[in-house]
């Protein structure tokens, strides 16, 4: 069953056509990535889904405002709130009583390795831990689809690799229906069931690639199949930026 479908979605901002006839879908329990060059309009899709941007053209089905939990590029943790109060923000907005919200968060703390940090302020946490907190804040909202906007993009290379490996394990255990936006080919191949490749602006889907590689994929030698998919994606992307030799 598809939890999300975009049909012929186009967006023009001012004079710039940003999205041009986007079609994509995400099935229940599926991990789908949107891969595209920087500035292609990947985040615009998320702004449509979260309601920050009104839908101009086309249709989004299986969606209400309440279908998505959104994790922004930077963690967007509130620096004046302790971690526990950051984690309950989404439930607080939903009107869940504080005690119940905290209880719900507490159930997930251990899985996210945050059990010792609840009374810390965000500034006291490392980049990786902050990102985990941001992810927990997203998951705990209990929405059907998780929207992750380059969640590991702001991290240093080492932390990013650690986070991706940790995330893969968490995802394998929980199977959240996920739509990930990224421009990191390796990340997309490592985490996704399917990948949509976007063109340059105005963005449309130029390739849809299935990744049939068994999990876990990270933390083990990269197999030839992964290499082949990565190479194919990279070539498609470079075609778009016009930098192919």
């Amino acid at each position: 069953m598809n939890l999300l479908e975009l049909n012929h979605v186009s967006v023009t901002l001012g004079d710039t056509a940003v999205l041009n006839d986007i079609n994509l879908h995400v099935a229940e329990g599926e991990f789908v990535s949107i891969l595209g060059p920087s500035g292609a309009g990947k985040s615009t899709i998320f702004r449509l889904l979260t309601g920050t941007l009104p839908l101009q053209d086309g249709a989004i089905t299986g969606a209400g405002q309440n279908s998505f939990a959104f994790m922004p590029q930077r963690d967007a943790l509130m620096p004046w709130r302790r971690i526990i109060d950051n984690l309950t923000l989404g439930l607080e907005v939903q009107g869940v009583p504080r005690k119940k919200a905290r209880a719900q968060v507490t159930l997930l703390l251990e899985d996210f390795g945050l059990e010792c940090f609840t009374s810390h302020y965000p500034a006291q946490l490392s980049g990786g831990m902050r990102q985990r907190a941001a992810l927990l804040r997203t998951i705990v909202q209990g929405r059907p689809v998780q929207l992750l906007d380059e969640p590991f993009g702001a991290l240093d290379a080492l932390t990013r690799t650690q986070m991706q490996t940790w995330f893969e394990a968490r995802w394998q255990a929980a199977r959240w229906t996920t739509l990930l936006v990224t421009h990191d080919v390796r990340e997309a191949v490592a985490l996704s069931d399917r990948i949509y490749v976007l063109s340059r602006r105005p963005a449309h889907v130029i390739a849809e690639i299935t990744v049939p590689i068994p999990r876990p994929r990270l933390g083990r030698p990269i197999c030839a199949q992964v290499h082949a998919i990565e190479a194919q994606l990279l070539e498609t992307l470079l075609d778009q930026t016009g930098e192919k030799p």
Binding site: T50, N66, Q73, M78, P79, W80, Q94, Q141
Partner: protein, 262 residues
């Protein structure tokens, strides 16, 4: 990204030592000059003489400090209440902001020297004109601090809250208001120093009691030593209020200290 905000000045006593030394040496030089030059105390009294006057007139000074403090607090409370209420209205209604802001700016261009006598003329010698003048002087900096503070909110936090289904009121309460706190305290520390000066000036123009009256009477009876004694008290008053706001800021903005230490 957090926009830069003026941070708390001076951390710990160690940082205060150079300031204390320079102030102390200024007083020593002043004292030496008065003693060596033999200048009349009617022209320039020595610091030691001013100190003597404070001790001699402590009852008088204290009795007149209380009304000044009252005017300062009442005026400041009024200005805070109005500034906060209005800042909320302006934040929710940008159109009203565009209509009213110029009026507030103009209110800041009115010279206190001209306005104060008029306010006293209209409202008499009681607390009212002092409260109004203190409020007039401190209201605008507080309003601007709050409005700028709301605007400094990280747009990503607002987008995040909107994606959670938060209403405008939710966003104000949970994101915009807390984001404005550092700005609020920056404004508070500036305004509190204006507040005391405004109260004293309002008294100077017309009052029954207060440090302003002490200064006026001392001036009229050619007592610069007593004028300076009252000045010292008013400075101390301002410093105490300044320190109180700084302490309050420390408690409320604990998370900022953590951020700074990173």
């Amino acid at each position: 990204m957090q926009r830069p905000v003026p941070r708390q000045a001076g951390r710990g006593l160690v940082h205060g030592i150079p300031a204390v030394l320079s102030v102390a040496s200024a007083f020593v030089i002043w004292e030496i000059y008065v003693r060596l030059s033999g200048i009349s105390p009617l022209m320039l009294p020595a610091p030691s003489r001013v100190l003597d006057q404070i001790m001699l007139n402590r009852a008088l000074l204290w009795d007149n400090t209380v009304p000044t403090l009252k005017a300062t607090f009442a005026g400041f409370s009024l200005s805070l209440t109005v500034a906060f209420s209005l800042s909320v209205v302006l934040d929710f209604m940008p159109r009203v902001r565009r209509a009213l802001f110029p009026i507030f700016v103009v209110s800041q261009t009115l010279p206190l020297v001209a306005i104060a006598p008029l306010v006293v003329l209209w409202f008499g010698f009681d607390l009212t004109p002092k409260v109004l003048l203190v409020a007039l002087v401190t209201f605008f900096p507080m309003l601007v601090a709050l409005v700028d503070g709301y605007a400094s909110t990280d747009p990503e936090i607002e987008d995040l809250m909107r994606s959670m289904g938060a209403s405008r009121t939710d966003i104000f309460r949970s994101a915009r208001f807390p984001s404005a706190m550092p700005y609020f305290f920056a404004g508070l520390r500036i305004s509190i120093t204006y507040a005391v000066v405004a109260a004293i000036f309002a008294e100077y123009v017309g009052a029954r009691a207060g440090l302003g009256i002490v200064i006026l009477n001392a001036k009229n009876s050619f007592r610069p030593d007593l004028v300076l004694a009252a000045v010292v008290i008013s400075s101390l008053l301002t410093l105490v209020l300044f320190a109180a706001t700084a302490m309050l800021q420390r408690i409320v903005l604990r998370w900022r200290d953590l951020e700074e230490r990173r």
